[in-house]
């Protein structure tokens, strides 16, 4: 596989240089791999910090800005950032109202963010951590490191970001983040695996007539390999898995993120979204909002994921609240 890069070891730094050039509204520290709101610290506002391995763009750095994150820490491709990044980010964005860390549930991310949280607290900054674990493909999660954090992270960052922007205190922002995390479910499907710069070839090989169900966002193989399905069939499998995981059947009103993994064209993704909406509808679920696009990606992986978030009026209001980031932007 050919990649549009200067060398595997330079990929993340180069991307951050590009972000710096493209987004004057952000402060990008290429050396320390931090992307920060230009107006940070915002006095009196809870600061949201997230981050994770690179390769999922626009998540997380593309979600930095008013109404969403204050800072994102970029790790190497598919490798969580190191604690020094999070502590440095905290010192730059803490506006006196505490820091919320949004962490995807992977051993590496949790360990590194935990170490950072300890250090930040030692500096006298109030810290709360919310772990996103929305991937319903991980069924027997007692035998695993829990569920993975995937597309639902976007919901958590958006909803908690809106609450923080409104001036809510840390406990309240954390509560919103936890509610959003609890209300989120995701399921992903790959048609071919992603090519990491370090490996230079797809992390898993899929025969031309098979697909991988229940994949994560790190090029790990999924839980099951099956004969290729149509968009309608994939939507049925996906929506079935998602709805089955909610306590109520059907759940309350939903925000639906029909997400591309990076290598699937928007044309196909919209067609798939039509089937997701149909599959939800057939099962009595109510769609409050939808978002279609490449938001939580896995490099050039072909495939898609669907993330749902069950919302009440408050969460829906926070979803509709203005956001102004490179990757997500609406409202006034």
């Amino acid at each position: 596989m050919k990649l549009l890069i200067n060398g595997a070891e330079r990929v993340v730094a180069d991307a951050l240089r590009g972000m710096a050039a493209a987004h004057p509204e952000l402060r990008v520290d290429v050396e320390r791999r931090l992307v920060v709101r230009r107006d940070a610290p915002v006095a009196g506002k809870v600061a949201l910090i997230s981050g994770g391995g690179s390769g999922h763009e626009p998540l997380h750095a593309g979600f930095v800005g008013p109404g969403m994150l204050d800072a994102a820490c970029a790790g190497e491709v598919f490798t969580s950032p190191v604690p020094d990044q999070m502590t440095r980010a905290a010192s730059q964005v803490h506006g006196g109202a505490g820091v919320l860390l949004i962490v995807k549930n992977y051993t590496g991310d949790v360990l590194n963010f935990d170490m950072a949280a300890e250090l930040v607290e030692e500096d006298g900054i109030e810290v709360t951590k919310v772990v996103v674990q929305d991937d319903v493909a991980v069924t027997d999660s007692t035998f695993t490191a829990g569920r993975r954090g995937t597309g639902g992270t976007l919901f958590v960052e958006k909803l908690a970001g809106a609450a923080a922007e409104e001036g809510a205190p840390l406990a309240r922002v954390a509560e919103i983040a936890r509610r959003a995390a609890d209300a989120s479910r995701s399921f992903g499907v790959a048609l071919h695996g992603p090519t990491t710069p370090a490996k230079g070839s797809p992390t898993f090989d899929l025969p031309p007539d098979e697909l991988e169900l229940g994949i994560g966002i790190h090029g790990e193989p999924g839980r099951e390999r099956r004969a290729m399905l149509s968009a309608a069939e994939i939507a049925d499998v996906t929506v079935e898995a998602l709805l089955a995981d909610y306590p109520a059947s059907p759940p309350g009103p939903l925000i639906c993120l029909t997400n591309g993994m990076g290598g699937t064209p928007l044309l196909e993704l919209y067609g798939f979204h039509a089937e997701v909406v149909r599959a939800l509808d057939e099962r009595g679920a109510t769609l409050a909002r939808s978002l279609v696009g490449n938001y939580v990606t896995s490099l050039d992986m072909a495939g898609c994921s669907v993330s749902l978030c069950e919302v009440d009026d408050e969460l829906l209001r926070l979803w509709d609240a203005p956001v102004s980031t490179p990757g997500l932007r609406w409202g006034h």
């Binding site: 969580s80 190191v82 590496g108 493909a137 490996k199 790990e220 839980r223």
Partner: protein, 203 residues
């Protein structure tokens, strides 16, 4: 084999880490390949980045004690690797360094006790047990053989290979369920490299 009375100084630990770095560099692609099968294809790069940084740090500023060397090496791993292996291998070295304290020379029994403390800390941090298909499957049997470095290296190697038929219960590979069976755990393979390097410099 190292005698029970041998005295180990800071240079010994530096040599161990240097040999480890060489081994990790030489095996980096294999480690990534292993991680590709049941993980996210970054383990070799992670280890190479971390150990290269460790050598840069150690070459820049000398440490007088074995414990001091391990502490700074562990901290460097934590600060440069990321992922699961950064905090875990970092903790292994840091905690071992802490256990060795300020002594300028330590015995092989001290090294054994320190590494056992380090491995215990890894277990505590990551919450994994023997048989969960992690680096602990190489580390635990290895430190049980210390201070016999040859036996420890052999045990680590065997422990790593023994992860092949296991189903992972921790880390990224656990998401694969039954499909994690049949592959060697990359972190265990790395641990075997470190123990092999220790044996090599101990002779």
């Amino acid at each position: 084999m190292a005698g029970q009375t041998a005295e180990r100084d800071a240079a010994f630990i530096v040599e161990w880490l240097r040999a480890s770095t060489e081994a990790v560099r030489a095996e980096s692609d294999r480690l990534t390949e292993l991680d590709s099968a049941i993980g996210d294809a970054d383990h070799g790069t992670n280890m190479r980045r971390g150990f290269t940084a460790v050598m840069t740090t150690l070459d820049a500023e000398e440490r007088a004690t074995p414990g001091g060397v391990l502490l700074v090496a562990g901290r460097t791993l934590v600060s440069t690797v990321g992922g699961a292996s950064g905090p875990l291998f970092g903790t292994l070295l840091r905690r071992s360094g802490k256990a060795l304290g300020e002594a300028e020379r330590v015995s092989d029994e001290d090294v054994r006790d320190a590494l056992r403390a380090g491995v215990a800390a890894v277990g505590q941090l990551g919450g994994a047990a023997l048989g969960d298909k992690t680096m602990l499957d190489a580390l635990l049997p290895a430190v049980a053989e210390l201070p016999d470095y040859a036996a420890a290296a052999r045990a680590a190697e065997e422990g790593a290979k023994a992860t092949i038929p296991l189903r992972a219960h921790k880390g990224r590979a656990s998401y694969l369920g039954e499909r994690s069976v049949g592959h060697e755990d990359p972190g265990a393979a790395s641990a075997a490299l470190l123990l092999g390097a220790l044996f090599q410099v101990s002779r």
